[in-house]
């Protein structure tokens, strides 16, 4: 084994004093074996650097689970559906006339005795009778189907051609959307 073989790695790393480095360089010019060794050590050093990069990428790479975009798409679809239903005029059931409150009667308990003095008939508040509209009452369990093109919700190319997603929801009597289910 060459005497200077032990200094090859330190020379490669630039850790030798000038005179030692010059001696190694001179030796490398003459020794084929040491040149091969040096090439091998350089190769190992480069591989260690690549290894460090690979470990770093492994640790820092954020893998997004497949269900995240699917869930996000479903949430967007549900949101769009809700907005659509909210924009549709709500059906109002006709109110029975006998259940209409009389404003004068409800206000009476809050009046002080002094103010509760008899008033003139002309100034007394008259009961307000709503106008009954002719509307179809909401049928419990009625099914409404609305088709929204996927292109209107998702970015072009993100949804496979021919794929349909069905959002089912129940409209509560107060008009709120409940029991949203997304299925394909």
């Amino acid at each position: 084994m060459c005497e200077l073989e032990r200094k090859l790695i330190a020379w490669m790393d630039g850790e030798l004093a000038a005179d030692e480095a010059a001696a190694v360089e001179q030796h490398l010019d003459q020794c084929e074996t040491c040149r091969k060794r040096l090439a091998k050590y350089k190769n190992v050093s480069e591989t260690v650097a690549s290894y460090c990069d690979a470990v770093f990428v492994t640790a820092t790479k954020r893998v997004v689970p497949i269900w995240v975009p699917v869930l996000a798409g479903a949430a967007m679809l549900a949101g769009a559906g809700m907005l659509f239903f909210m924009s549709v005029p709500r059906r109002i059931e006709p109110i029975a006339l006998d259940r209409v409150p009389v404003l004068g009667a409800t206000a009476a308990p809050h009046q002080s005795p002094a103010k509760a003095a008899p008033q003139k008939t002309s100034q007394r508040q008259r009961p307000i009778a709503p106008v009954a509209r002719k509307m179809t009452p909401y049928q419990q369990g009625e099914r409404i189907e609305i088709a929204i093109p996927a292109e209107a919700i998702f970015a072009p190319g993100t949804v496979p051609k021919g794929m349909t997603v069905i959002a089912e929801m129940r409209i509560a009597p107060d008009g709120s959307v409940q029991d949203i289910r997304i299925r394909q």
């Binding site: 790393d13 190992v44 290894y51 690979a54 470990v55 990428v57 492994t58 640790a59």
Partner: protein, 179 residues
């Protein structure tokens, strides 16, 4: 800077100088520090925390008039010692297979070369388990560009000892992974 700007009062001037120096060091050394810590076995989040703590320490060190020579070695030493506090995860990742992630770091312009590089890393990953802890740490710090003197400062070793350890480790790897 506009002409009408007011210079900072004198007591803040040293702080501003230290802060600017820390910012420059942060830009330069954040990634090497993170890579070293992750290679030691810390998770990405743990490594981020340790690097942040190390720079907070550096700011305090400079604010209190601490020495400014070999700041790189100083930072790596602080980060290394902080990483030691995460001993439970210290050995977790070291030497694990990297099959799924190697594509991200290998140049694909030449498929044949990419394949060879992939095989080399795989062999090194297996061979690196043969090294002891100090040998691994010396090699990792060397891979981040630290001088032998700086590595010695981080690990508490003499510079000549660091040279011997690195030489031994490289030869071991060259023998084991046949690169």
């Amino acid at each position: 800077m506009s002409d009408d700007s007011v210079p900072l009062p004198l007591p803040l001037a040293p702080w501003r100088a230290a802060s600017s120096e820390v910012t420059i060091l942060y830009r330069e050394l954040r990634k090497p520090l993170l890579r070293y810590l992750v290679c030691l076995g810390l998770s990405s989040d743990e490594a981020q925390d340790v690097v942040q703590d190390a720079f907070v320490c550096l700011q305090s060190h400079l604010d209190s008039g601490g020495g400014q020579e070999n700041i790189r070695g100083w930072l790596f030493r602080v980060a290394h010692n902080h990483a030691r506090n995460h001993q439970t995860s210290y050995h977790r990742r070291f030497g694990q297979t990297l099959d799924g992630e190697m594509n991200a770091v290998i140049d694909h312009a030449d498929p044949e070369r990419a394949l060879l590089e992939k095989e080399r890393i795989a062999r090194l990953t297996a061979a690196i388990r043969v090294l002891n802890e100090t040998e691994r740490e010396c090699l990792l710090l060397r891979a981040e560009g630290l001088r032998y003197r700086e590595i010695g400062e981080v690990l508490g070793l003499a510079t000549s000892t660091v040279g011997d350890i690195i030489e031994r480790s490289i030869k071991k790897l060259a023998e084991k992974c046949h690169v």
